[in-house]
């Protein structure tokens, strides 16, 4: 049943909690606690990363079935069980989460000076919840992880955030909670309807057509806020701006993917007809998101806010890809999600490097950084180019596939997505020019130091990944090709069956 002979997914999921428990038990002076907390957190997350690499090696990309499955009875008479497993769609997100967490801990090494112990505990709990959410194959378990992410993130933004952190933390929490509770009702309906919350078993059931619409909108309420889609994206810029750097990285890198993952995992397979019917609505919202937030990004004065808006635009491309229901679109969406996870995370880290030194995120505060910090400028440029979608770098493959997929559905949607890429080039280059080039207008900038070894260590894996994803996409695409093909096939079969029934 299990390819490795031991409960690998549970281990990956819950090991961070063990680390958090060890950190909690550390005693001593504040400095000692802080140092120990950092090292324990780093080692825990590295061990988790190593364990998750087993997934990379042992995962069989030739099948669409769930792998590394684990089952435990939890509430057997209710049809709820602890069921974990990954397929091609989720496995890379598990890896993304486990890869970003150690980088985030490294990025917080010096930036977080107060209450380090609590910070590291929050981060490790967050890792557990993220990984668990991508592995969960039971709807109730999924919901538990999906919601539980809010608690550590709320604290990370609220305790270690910027000046308006309280507002941002509350907005983040309440926005996402409001969406999620509606999804909870839909889950309860599905539970009652099917008598089980086991996701593979739910896939076998046909949800009545009339209910599909309601459930679709309940899911949309939750996932659209998480993605975030226009017009419920407004919590994201606030949360990003106020969150500490590592919080932004996780937020952009993993948490935003949870919404899109929800669409892929639940909306499409469970509600094929409603998804098909409301795909135009999603297209409209996504194209508006892509164009509107790109324009908004052009006008931003704050670096983090700019990148936050660019995230909304990129996620718009992802939702377009998901609702094309074809192989290219879905693969492109998945690829864009992964690439965006790496690249936008890296961009937030780039901002964090400057912020740690100057304590300002205002674009006008900078200028001529390329002369002072050449290596940094190089790294920043690489990720800027990746974000724009330069061929040979990570984002290009995904966005290109989405546009191809969208073209097959509706050329205008493809045009909207392409417009987003053009605007993306505009705001990112504009940002880069203002920060890196030009004359050095402020004398205090001259004293800035270039990247430290620790920062090199953070960026090196991300640079490697960005290049790898751009140059040889097949090594990632091959993971989810079969799963996506199965998803497309099932979707078409369901629509065909519905059409037959309607005739």
């Amino acid at each position: 049943m299990n390819a490795v002979g031991f409960p690998l997914l549970s281990l990956i999921t819950f090991l961070p909690l063990v680390g958090a428990g060890i950190i909690m038990s550390v005693r001593g002076e504040d400095a000692v606690i802080a140092r120990n907390a950092r090292w324990i957190a780093l080692w825990t997350s590295l061990i988790v990363l190593l364990l998750s690499l087993i997934l990379w090696v042992r995962f069989d990309p030739g099948t669409a079935a769930f792998q590394f499955e684990e089952r435990l009875a939890w509430l057997p008479e209710f049809g709820v069980g602890y069921h974990m497993g990954v397929d091609g769609i989720s496995v890379l997100f598990v890896l993304l989460s486990t890869a970003l967490t150690p980088l985030c801990i490294l990025a917080s090494w010096e930036a977080i000076g107060t209450r380090v112990r609590e910070y590291m505990i929050a981060f490790l709990i967050l890792e557990t919840m993220m990984v668990g959410m991508f592995c969960a194959l039971d709807f109730i378990i999924f919901y538990v992880f999906f919601e539980a992410v809010l608690i550590p993130m709320f604290l990370i933004i609220g305790v270690w955030g910027g000046p308006r952190r309280v507002y941002a933390a509350f907005k983040f929490f309440l926005y996402t909670l409001l969406g999620s509770v509606l999804m909870l009702l839909a889950i309860l309906y599905l539970w009652y309807n099917a008598g089980t919350t086991d996701i593979p078993e739910l896939f076998e059931q046909v949800v009545p057509r009339a209910a599909q619409t309601w459930i679709f909108f309940a899911f949309l309420a939750s996932f659209a806020v998480k993605v975030p889609m226009w017009p419920v994206h407004t919590w994201l810029p606030d949360a990003h701006v106020e969150a500490p750097t590592a919080g932004s990285v996780i937020l952009a890198g993993v948490l935003l993917k949870m919404g899109a993952y929800g669409f892929l995992r639940f909306s499409l397979p469970l509600l094929p007809e409603a998804s098909a019917e409301f795909a135009p609505l999603i297209f409209v919202l996504s194209v508006v998101a892509v164009v509107y937030t790109s324009l908004v990004a052009l006008a931003q004065e704050d670096m983090k806010k700019l990148i936050a808006y660019s995230s909304v635009a990129h996620m718009g491309i992802v939702t377009i890809g998901i609702f094309t229901f074809n192989q290219q679109g879905l693969s492109g969406a998945l690829y864009t999600m992964l690439a965006h996870g790496v690249v936008s995370g890296a961009l937030f880290l780039c901002v964090g490097v400057l912020y740690d030194r100057v304590h300002s995120r205002e674009i006008l505060r900078y200028g001529g950084v390329a002369q002072i910090m050449p290596s940094y400028a190089m790294v920043f440029m690489l990720f800027t180019m990746a974000s724009i979608g330069l061929p040979g770098l990570a984002n290009f493959v995904g966005e290109f596939l989405v546009i191809v997929g969208a073209w097959a559905v509706n050329p205008w949607v493809a045009f909207g997505a392409a417009l987003g890429m053009v605007l993306g080039a505009a705001y990112m280059l504009y940002l880069y020019r203002r920060v890196s080039f030009g004359r050095i207008t402020r004398e205090d900038l001259r004293a800035l130091l270039d990247l430290s070894p620790r920062e090199y260590a953070i960026f090196a894996p991300l640079i490697l990944l960005t290049l790898w994803m751009g140059v040889y996409p097949q090594s990632f695409l091959s993971f989810f090709e079969v799963s996506v093909a199965a998803l497309v096939q099932r979707h078409e079969a369901a629509l065909g069956a519905a059409r037959l029934a309607g005739m």
């Binding site: 939890w74 509430l75 609220g158 952190r165 929490f173 309440l174 909670l177 509770v181 309906y189």
Partner: protein, 473 residues
Amino acid sequence: MIWTLALPELVLAVSGLVILAAGVIPKRDTFFPVSMACVGALLLTAVLVLGQGEGTALSGHYVSDAFSGFMKFLAIAAAAVGILLALDYNEKEGLARFEFPILMLFATLGMMVMISANDLLSLYLGLELLSLPLYVIAAFNRDSGRSAEAGLKYFVLGALASGLLLYGTSLVYGFAGTTNFDRLGEAFSVLESVSPGVVVGIVFIIAGLAFKVSAVPFHMWTPDVYEGAPTPVTAFFASAPKVAAIALLARVLLGPFGDLVAQWSQVITLVSLGSMIFGAFAAIGQRNLKRLMAYSSIGHVGYALMGLAVGTDIGLRGLLVYMAIYVFMNLGTFAVLVSMRRQGRAVEGIGDLAGLGRTDPVTAMWMAVFMFSMAGIPPLAGFFGKLYVFLAAVQAGFWTLAVVGVLTSVVSAYYYLRIVKVMYFDAPAGSLDRAPSSLTLVMAGTGLFTVFFALWPAPMLAAAQAAAAALLG
């Protein structure tokens, strides 16, 4: 007539009297030994409850089944913890008189009589036996105007509620000719023959009991009494009597009036909706923690009643699970509230918690756990309580209740989060005194339950399932 069936009640009553006598005789302060003896008596009673047989006794006035066992166990546990919470507080506030735990013990006896009532008269008897000690302990801090006001307010409104209940009882008796639950059930099994007067009687009975559980629109006393009464008393009010009154409401409505579910379900639905909405919005502006907890408890009763409004066994199971979880997280929260002292003086403002995350990380962590749990955030226990009542509402097609329920839970999340915010995001406003070990013990116990409930929910669900099955037959 097998009076031995009522052994737990008899044992508790006798030990209460013995402890009372033992407490009076010595000349010195006997608060602590009497408290311990009361806790011991409660534990003994709890053991007896666990081993209690099933059946009716005392000419059909008394019933014992899985439902009464579940609820009694909960009420006794809450009462025992309530006595523990008062130990340190009463010493410091000069309220350490031995009558205090004994009054709580007799209130618990009243709860047990209520829970096991199988007749409208034994119901009333139990209710009054519960209420009289509560009136006294609400005003236990005699030198405080607020405490006296709380006691008086509670007494006047409680008397009114008792009057409503008695009036409803007399109406039902007038139309059915009996007060025994079993025979009432038989009398109302033919729906056509049920006169509207009975329905009016039921509404009066519901009103009387809704007062005890502080459900909207009979909630007005709650904030004032909660704020005015000594904090351990508030903790007790918010937990044990609520369990008993909810149990009673469930037994009355689903037992003798079970066939009239269509009549009373609307009333309970409205009460539930009102409580959820009022509890969510009225708490937002509060600055006093005890007042906030009063509104929060109104909201929680609304969620619990959702399970009753549905009127199915799944709904009842949800109600039972909800109450069980609520009692634990509520006692935990109040353990934190009781422990709040600055330089020896009790404080109760939300602002007094400022920076607790830094000055006392352990207490702050438990408080945060309870707040997130009350807001219904998984994986904490409060989420599962909500889950089961929402499930019942969705299954029975009570969509209005379910949707309003989840939306108000988001609204109420705001004020629970505000407490977390004050503790963790705000700068410390001077540190609070160290919590005494009796309170940290309660915090840790209830906190661990709240955190780890998700791992083994099956035993409690099975117990609740059996209890629900016993009531619905």
